[in-house]
């Protein structure tokens, strides 16, 4: 059983090890273990965690979703455009951003769940198409004027010593952990991902469940978009898309922890923390610009290898 515990909490231990390392390393010891750095790291993982969780839902149901980051970009731009170009009230801006995410989710859901197209290709398609549309709409210029102050405060302020964005993100994490891990809906999604034919023969509405997974994914990407707008103080035309790979790295790293061999919400958060802490430590220790990229890529490959091998060992005697 100690091996099972090691699997479950291995990533957390590794995270603690990385923290200790950069806390002691002379090059980073001064700046790394500080409240300011903790706040910076937590602020950075807010969007990445939500994006990762957005990808977890379709993945649990057996489908890739590469479009989450592009969807968050569309949501962010929609929110910013409503507030800035159309002088809409904050509530309308936020609702519009969320709605944009849901619409993309609905389109993906229709293409994949209803028309049964390959999710891998469809979502690469939407992930390519959406930033193009954003370029066309914005002319390549970010929208940063007249962003409502409360939204800016959410992005840069602190509450109870932690960045404000962490609080709504904590709510999202709790809700998704509950839905995916503790409810019948989540269990049915796992069943569909495991064996759709068998799921149908135990009365699970496979199409409806897959559909729902993509809509939830779109909605969460919408939330990530609002948080992006808050963090950036507006809609930046390139932001979000570059978060796809950190988010996926968090998801796959997360597949090695908490519920080893399976994509899961809490594991994804730990994965996001691990990547963010490591990158922060490397940066503070004066590593060159390319090091974080190499680290992210390596973490992704290692995570996939470890989680696949775990799942394989679990599946075979």
């Amino acid at each position: 059983m100690s091996r099972a515990l090691g699997e479950r909490y291995g990533l957390l231990l590794l995270l603690a090890g990385v923290c200790l390392f950069f806390g002691v390393l002379p090059a980073s010891a001064a700046a790394f273990p500080t409240a300011a750095n903790l706040q910076a790291v937590l602020g950075n993982i807010a969007v990445v965690s939500v994006l990762g969780i957005a990808a977890v839902f379709p993945l649990v149901g057996g489908h890739f979703d590469f479009s989450v980051a592009a969807t968050s970009l569309v949501s962010s731009i929609t929110c910013a455009a409503l507030l800035s170009d159309h002088h809409a009230p904050l509530v309308v801006g936020v609702a519009g951003g969320l709605l944009a995410g849901l619409v993309v989710g609905l389109v993906n859901a229709t293409l994949v769940a209803v028309l049964r197209l390959n999710a891998f290709i469809v979502t690469i398609g939407t992930a390519t198409l959406l930033p193009g549309v954003v370029q066309w709409y914005t002319g390549g210029v970010g929208i940063t004027r007249d962003i409502a102050q409360p939204l800016r405060d959410l992005g840069s302020g602190t509450w109870l010593g932690l960045p404000r964005v962490i609080w709504p993100v904590a709510l999202v994490i709790a809700a998704c952990w509950f839905v995916l891990g503790q409810t019948a809906v989540g269990r049915r999604l796992h069943a569909v991902g495991s064996n759709p034919a068998a799921a149908r023969l135990v009365g699970i509405p496979v199409t409806r469940v897959s559909f729902l997974a993509f809509v939830i994914s779109g909605g969460l990407a919408g939330v990530a978009g609002i948080l992006l707008t808050a963090r950036n103080g507006g809609g930046l035309v390139t932001s979000g898309v570059d978060l796809l790979f950190p988010a996926l790295a968090a998801v796959f790293l997360g597949g090695t922890a908490i519920d080893p061999g399976r994509y899961n919400v809490l594991g994804t958060v730990v994965g996001a923390l691990f990547v963010a802490v490591s990158v922060s430590g490397l940066t503070l220790a004066g590593a060159a610009d390319w090091v974080p990229d190499v680290f992210n890529g390596a973490a992704l490959v290692v995570a996939v290898a470890v989680s696949t091998l775990l799942a394989r060992r679990r599946g075979t005697p």
Binding site: Q182, R187, A191, S194, N195, A198, G261, R314, P317
Partner: protein, 508 residues
Amino acid sequence: MTTPREALLHVEDVHKSYGPVPVLKGVHLDLYPGEVHALAGGNGSGKSTLIKVLAGIEHADAGTLRVPGRPTTDLAGFGAAASSRAGLRFVHQDLGLVLDMTVAENFALSRGFPARFGAVAWSRLRRAVADRLERFDLAVDPGARVASLRPADRTMVAVARALADDEPGQILVLDEPTASLPHHEVDILLDALARRAAKGQAILYVSHRLAEVLSLAHRVTVLRDGTVAESRPTADLDGLGLAELIAGRSVETLYPARAVPTEKPERPVVQVRELCAGPLREVSMEAHAGEIVGVAGLLGSGRSTLLRSLFGAVVPRSGSITVEGRPLPPSVRAAMRAGVALVPEDRQREALFGDLSVVRNTTIATLARHTRWSWLRPSSERAATRDAIDDFAIRVPAPAQAITRLSGGNQQKVVLARWLQREPRVLLLDEPTQGVDVLARADIYRRLREVAVGGTAVVVASSDVEELANLCDRVVVLRAGRVSARLRGTEVAIPAIVRHSYADREAS
């Protein structure tokens, strides 16, 4: 068989443990030239582990292997290459054939493509394969796609390929070759294997099916709890005797006693009228509470389609299905609400959630009852699973383990328990004992009878005629989509079922 000649394969004192659990505790096996030697044993007997050790897939902790003309080999470091050098040729249940390729290409995949100026010499390959097939009495075109062959021929193609290097002293190891074959294909395959054996081919034959073991094998080695319980000629053994060797205790009967025929309630639980769906043409049948109704017929006769229609998984072209007098809409969920349950034919593809735990596989059809305030309660799920494990005597190392870690018989018990928790009015089972060993089979039969006595209508579709003849109160025989016979009482017997399954097709 007892003359003191040199064994073709002499395996001695094999030990193997998984962690602290010993699986093989000093197993020995002797195979003589020209002999068909069956390896039998229940779930957990160590049979599959021994085969894996011989194939070099698993390493034994200790043990030796000797073949004529070679030094004794230590099984602790015995890999796949060593296994092949020792002359062992395996044909596993899945055959390892690529269905979309031709027979010749499949030969070349494992034996190499003959080349000419760097390009594949197709005509040479075809000639070589045709020659090989002919020597195996196989009337198969080397250019035919494997998918187009009948199942028994596919197995023989795999056998011919495994033995293609013609080395002397080869031993053919067949691991459950008939597990996924329909009944009449089994006979064809057994005939072909018997012909190979008559020509002197030594065969190690692993099977759950006692009748096959008895008809094909000269000797049988029975494993029980990791030791050799018995190794002896089959000549003086019958089915019951072999079952008792496997069980290690007396098996009164494999099949439970039939229900005492009572006054039937006037209204059947399920009523099918003039059903047309898939291959089915105007099929009418019914099932009453308290009885086990068999559905017999060859592959393609529509057995599975009938069951799937009753479960709402197939949309019929015409006809009506009523459950408790109410028409059944063609939807799985509606059928489940009406109290219908289906244990599907293909366990791996249609029933098991391979990467989910035993607990989650058990409760997947009853999630609502484990939910409070939309919260799934793990304690409630575990309790239900424990009940099922106790009730069915399911052998589970840990309920939190993936279902794929269980043996076929235990997996099937989990699937059955999944549905029995719903207390179905109608229980449909398609090939309920495929890949299930004899002891688990007896458990399942006994449980089905109890369920029927409890007031459920049980419908069993099977290609195993013996199973239908011994388990069912009535049997409906399908032939080419039509009902060819309705057998009841003493008419329920193997000859009648076979005759009505095979008889000439009427022009339709």
